[in-house]
């Protein structure tokens, strides 16, 4: 421990000078921090800036005398000036505050006025909902599949076991691309009515196992009203491997719904009909708002219908097998599922008019920021 009144003998290398002056600076900072009132701060001032016995005065004379060369003097001088500046400015800053807290006539600011905010943009509720669903399946080992929004009749219908002129096609009013009449039906272009074509495209590209989740925009020739829109979004999934069973389908969707809505959510399955699955099912979840006791959102039933699903129809595998023979329905099996994003988002956020999703209305969108 060195004598505080007298600078210790030092070597004048830049490194040790740096260390030394840093130590002085830290000591001053500590002194100042320990001084809690004006008296204390005055003591610090005298200790460091006192004209005769102040530390700075002592260091100045002491180090300068010891400095062995003009270069060393210069090095000391520069560091000393920096230290002095630091000490003076800190003490000065305190003085101006402590002498008088306010200048004459200065008024207090109104701290109750709103602050200056830089708001981030709002995520679109549909994109956000779609991401949430996709994330659940990604965590279960699903890859993301994408495909075109303009599809051929083959991928949108025929290869999914919607034969030409089949009544099932009536359920999906299709927007057709103009000028396709000269082409064979299967090559005609249309706006995809579901994201299922991506299932077929994926199977054509890769042999099983397949595990994909497909988010996307789809279109139907539906006149717009509060619950219908010609544009909407779907998330579909496909899982194909050896020994994939109906109970796997049930377990997968049950798990996914619990991951999305909480572990208390229950699922139940009803037989349904889709051309591309067999057996097919509609899935209801216990109402996420009332927990199943019945409320306005679930129309007092305690259940909300959310998904369509089923075991992939062997006819669909037969189409896939034209390009990938490994899709042999006798050896592999699989399931597919799909859900409407709008429906879920409307329920979740209490949106009553589906058209609001596509209006770009800033007042609507900013609610989701």
């Amino acid at each position: 421990m060195s004598d505080p009144e007298k600078p210790a003998t030092i070597d004048f290398s830049p490194a040790s000078l740096d260390r030394l002056f840093q130590a002085h600076r830290s000591e001053f900072d500590r002194d100042l921090a320990d001084a809690h009132n004006d008296t204390g701060r005055e003591a610090v001032r005298i200790k460091w800036l006192g004209r005769k016995q102040g530390k700075l005065a002592l260091y100045s004379s002491g180090y300068m005398q010891q400095a062995p060369s003009p270069d060393a003097k210069k090095e000391v001088g520069r560091r000393f000036n920096e230290l002095k500046q630091h000490v003076e400015s800190r003490l000065e800053g305190l003085a101006s505050g402590s002498q008088s807290e306010t200048a004459a006539g200065e008024a207090a600011i109104d701290v109750t006025l709103p602050g200056m905010r830089r708001r981030p943009g709002a995520e679109h509720p549909l994109i956000k909902t779609m991401h949430e669903i996709v994330a659940v399946f990604e965590a279960m080992g699903y890859s993301i599949g994408v495909g075109p929004e303009v599809e051929t009749d083959y991928y949108n219908f025929e290869s999914l076991n919607f034969p030409p002129n089949h009544p099932a096609r009536d359920t999906q009013d299709t927007l057709l691309i103009a000028g396709q009449e000269a082409k064979p039906l299967r090559e005609r272009l249309l706006m995809r009515t579901h994201t299922s074509p991506v299932q077929m495209r994926t199977m054509e590209r890769q042999p099983p196992p397949v595990r994909i989740v497909i988010p996307g925009k789809v279109h139907r020739n539906d006149a717009a009203d509060a619950t219908h829109s010609p544009i909407f979004h779907q998330v579909e999934g496909l899982c194909v491997d050896e020994n994939i069973t109906f109970s796997d389908l049930k377990g997968t969707l049950d798990h996914a719904m619990k991951a999305l809505f909480g572990s208390a959510v229950k699922t139940r399955f009803f037989p349904s009909f889709f051309p591309f699955t067999e057996p097919s099912a509609d899935v209801q979840i216990s109402c996420i708002f009332c927990g199943g006791s019945g409320c306005r959102k679930c129309k007092q039933s305690g259940w909300i219908e959310l998904l369509g699903c089923g075991m992939v129809d062997p006819a669909v595998f037969a189409f896939a097998a034209q390009k990938q023979p490994a899709y042999d329905a006798g050896k592999i099996s699989g399931f597919a599922f799909g859900m409407g994003v709008e429906r879920l988002a409307m329920m979740k956020y209490g949106v009553s008019d589906i058209g609001q999703f596509y209006s770009g209305d800033v007042r609507f969108l900013e609610q989701f920021g």
Binding site: G121, A122, D241, S359
Partner: protein, 711 residues
């Protein structure tokens, strides 16, 4: 479709379950009772059913009773309609000829004589009242009643108006028929018609004709019960815009074996108010049609396949094989056992939806109850891969959200005028054949028109501060296909309103450019520049303001066009506020990798700032100044930026009272600029003589561009 629980019970004498329980049990088997209504004491319930399109066999009371019989393992009462013996000769009273055997698979005709047309009574009247079904006359009601009872549509003709034989044929060119709804229709040569030797009597399977309609004075009736080709009925129904209860059923595949029974049921009802059967039933069958329906070959069902597809049950025992066989029999299949683990299944004529083993497996699962299967998870195999664009799209989205842009989604369609205006090249627009409206007649070639529509939507509702982006697909025609490319649009109007009581700053071009820069900076770009859109030819979008718009060129590719909306477009869209719009060509941007941040060493030495005040001719762009400074290759020039730029009458000056002072002395077509520079070395504190040298170099470079240093 409305179903009466008591009517169901009439076919299920052993049913003990209550009506509510029955509705629930059916619903869980896919025969969905969407609503159930108590009709009052002794009247049972009314079920509002929603039957999927593939289950036409269940769109009637007997079909639903059959489902209940399978679910509960009950006996189903047989449907019978014994008729009194035919009066007089056993000779058929009418001749039937099927001349279009591809369209009509079976046709039965039964002649009734001396019937009395009068209002219905008895069960028909009671049940129709509960179902709120309109009563017409006993003849018409009988056909409707039988359809509700067992699902097979029939038709009753006034036999005295039929001339000669009944002929099932295609309509002739220019042939017409006035249907029961009073509409005179021009028939198509592909329409199947029921005709006599002189005229068309009915549009087969869709609607009867006006002329042979049952009238109060009708005495003699011809009851038609037939089986028509589903596709033919569907086409006729569509062609004439006539969707009837009959066509709905026939086009989904009726029961080939049902016509004789349906005919008998109708006749029995009609004869209850008088009259007699005349001659035997005429029943003409097309063997090919029968082979495709009632005469289908048996299909195999294997126990192992049932297990492979359905998996585990909650009770751990799996689906019971014996019970499965009973279920199929209850649904109308007949089974021929082939060893302990297999059988051959003959399919019922009314279930054309059953064709394959998987269809039988579905029936087994359905009647067993889906919710009695276990929830299992498949083992994992394979790898997780994401499309490469995904991370890039996410990055673009996140970076814009972070700096205050909200995401929007607009229509995928636009008007023809907008398609032409916004297409990046002429002649690539794509039309929709059956658009919802003229305004949505084209696929959007750019996201800009949708963004402008959203800007207008907000401004028209007194929402003036708009800062939106959209990520979506744009479409363009290519030979034989439609190309899709991902794009991002930006729309900006109003001002940045940070706080209501502090001055807001109107948005301008540089706010939009800032967003573009923010976005581009996420990508690893070797060289990037912005320039004014080349006027005249080239990619200059006509919708952008000629003087206040720009493009961004990254590694030689135009990746964005943006700026103020062209005045003509603003006028056309009635936008009185200045709006800014831009499109980023994500397909091009996605070819670049995302930038990966790399930490670089930081200098330990003090930076020194130097400002240079210059006057430049208006033609000198910042890009040139920046290039000139870059080309100096001064390692110690750490940063430089344009600070104050003055082109008009005042210049900003923080020391002046109002923050401005007159510029004074600027020659015409010149501007003044304050260029702030920062020098910093990695090797030591910069010395005066070094700084002096650097300053001289900077000044010389700026002077070489025509700049004059201000004193």
């Amino acid at each position: 479709m409305k179903i009466l629980s008591n009517w169901l019970r009439s076919y299920l004498p052993g049913l003990t379950a209550g009506d509510r329980e029955l509705a629930e049990a059916l619903t869980l088997r896919g025969i969905a009772a969407e609503g159930i209504f108590d009709l009052g004491p002794g009247k049972g319930f009314l079920f509002e059913m929603d039957i999927t399109t593939n289950r036409v066999d269940a769109m009637n009371h007997y079909g639903i009773a059959r489902e209940a019989a399978a679910i509960y393992g009950l006996a189903l009462a047989p449907l019978e309609a014994p008729l009194p013996a035919a009066s007089g000769a056993t000779q058929p009273a009418v001749e039937v000829r099927i001349e279009a055997p591809d369209l009509c698979g079976r046709f039965t005709a039964r002649a009734l004589s001396g019937v009395r047309i009068q209002p219905s009574g008895g069960a028909v009247r009671e049940r129709f009242a509960l179902l709120e079904q309109k009563l017409i006359s006993n003849a018409v009601d009988a056909t409707n009643y039988v359809t509700l009872a067992m699902g097979h549509p029939t038709h009753a003709f006034d036999r005295d108006k039929v001339e000669g034989a009944i002929i099932l044929r295609r309509a002739r060119k220019s042939e017409r028929l006035k249907t029961l709804d009073g509409v005179d229709r021009l028939l198509d040569p592909e329409d199947l018609v029921v005709a006599d030797e002189r005229k068309v009597l009915a549009l087969a399977g869709v609607m009867g004709g006006w002329e042979t309609m049952i009238a109060p004075e009708t005495k003699n009736v011809l009851v038609e019960a037939a089986w028509f080709d589903p596709l033919s009925i569907r086409r006729s129904s569509k062609r004439h815009g006539l969707h009837t209860d009959a066509s709905h059923r026939f086009e989904r595949g009726a029961d080939f074996n049902a016509p004789p029974l349906a005919s008998a049921l109708v006749s029995q009802l009609l004869l209850s108010s008088g009259g007699s059967v005349e001659g035997e039933l005429v029943d003409v069958i097309v063997p090919d049609a029968m082979a495709r329906t009632a005469g289908r070959a048996a299909i195999p069902l294997r126990r192992g396949e049932v297990r492979r597809i359905l998996g585990a049950t909650e009770d751990g025992r799996g689906v019971d094989w014996e019970r499965s066989q009973l279920v199929l029999e209850a649904l109308g299949c007949s089974l021929q056992v082939e060893g302990p683990d297999a059988c051959r299944v003959t399919l019922p004529s009314w279930r054309l939806d059953l064709e394959r083993e998987i269809d039988l497996i579905e029936e087994i699962a359905r009647i067993y109850g889906y919710n009695r299967f276990a929830n299992t998870l498949p083992g994992f195999s394979g790898a997780v891969v994401s499309p490469p664009e995904r991370a890039k799209e996410d990055t673009a989205r996140r970076s814009l959200l972070a700096v205050g842009w909200s995401e929007a989604i607009s229509s995928s369609f636009c008007s023809a005028a907008d398609a032409d205006m916004f297409a990046p090249q002429p002649g690539i627009t794509v039309a929709v054949a059956n658009p919802l409206s003229e305004e949505a007649g084209m696929l959007r070639p750019s996201l800009a028109p949708g963004m402008l529509a959203m800007l207008a939507y907000n401004l028209n509702r007194d929402v003036y501060d708009v800062q939106l982006f959209e990520i979506g697909t744009c479409f363009s025609a290519a030979p034989g296909r439609v190309d899709e490319r991902p794009a991002l649009s930006l729309g900006l109007a109003g001002s940045s309103a940070a706080s209501p009581h502090l001055p807001s700053r109107p948005f301008g071009f540089y706010d939009l450019k800032g967003a573009v820069e923010e976005l581009l900076e996420r990508f690893s770009i070797r060289s990037i520049y912005f320039d004014a859109l080349p006027s005249g030819a080239g990619p200059a979008p006509a919708w952008l303001h000629p003087l206040r718009s720009a493009r961004a060129v990254a590694d030689g590719e135009t990746v964005a066009c943006f700026g103020e909306l062209a005045p003509a477009q603003a006028r056309q869209r009635k936008l009185r506020q200045t709006v800014f719009v831009g499109e980023i060509y994500l397909d091009r941007l996605y070819r670049l990798p995302l930038r990966r941040p790399i930490a670089r060493e930081l200098s330990r030495f003090q930076p020194v700032r130097r400002d240079f005040s210059f006057i430049f001719p208006a033609s000198v762009r910042w890009q040139q100044i920046a290039s000139a400074l870059d080309e100096l290759s001064l390692a110690d020039l750490a940063a430089f930026a344009p600070r104050e730029i003055f082109r008009g009458e005042t210049v900003r000056d923080s020391r002046a009272k109002d923050g401005k002072r007159p510029a004074g002395g600027l020659p015409a077509d010149h501007y003044s600029i304050l260029i702030g520079t920062t020098f910093q070395s990695f090797t030591g504190t910069l010395r005066d003589e070094e700084l002096q040298r650097y300053s001289e170099a900077v000044v010389a470079a700026l002077e070489s561009l025509g700049g004059k240093q201000r004193g």
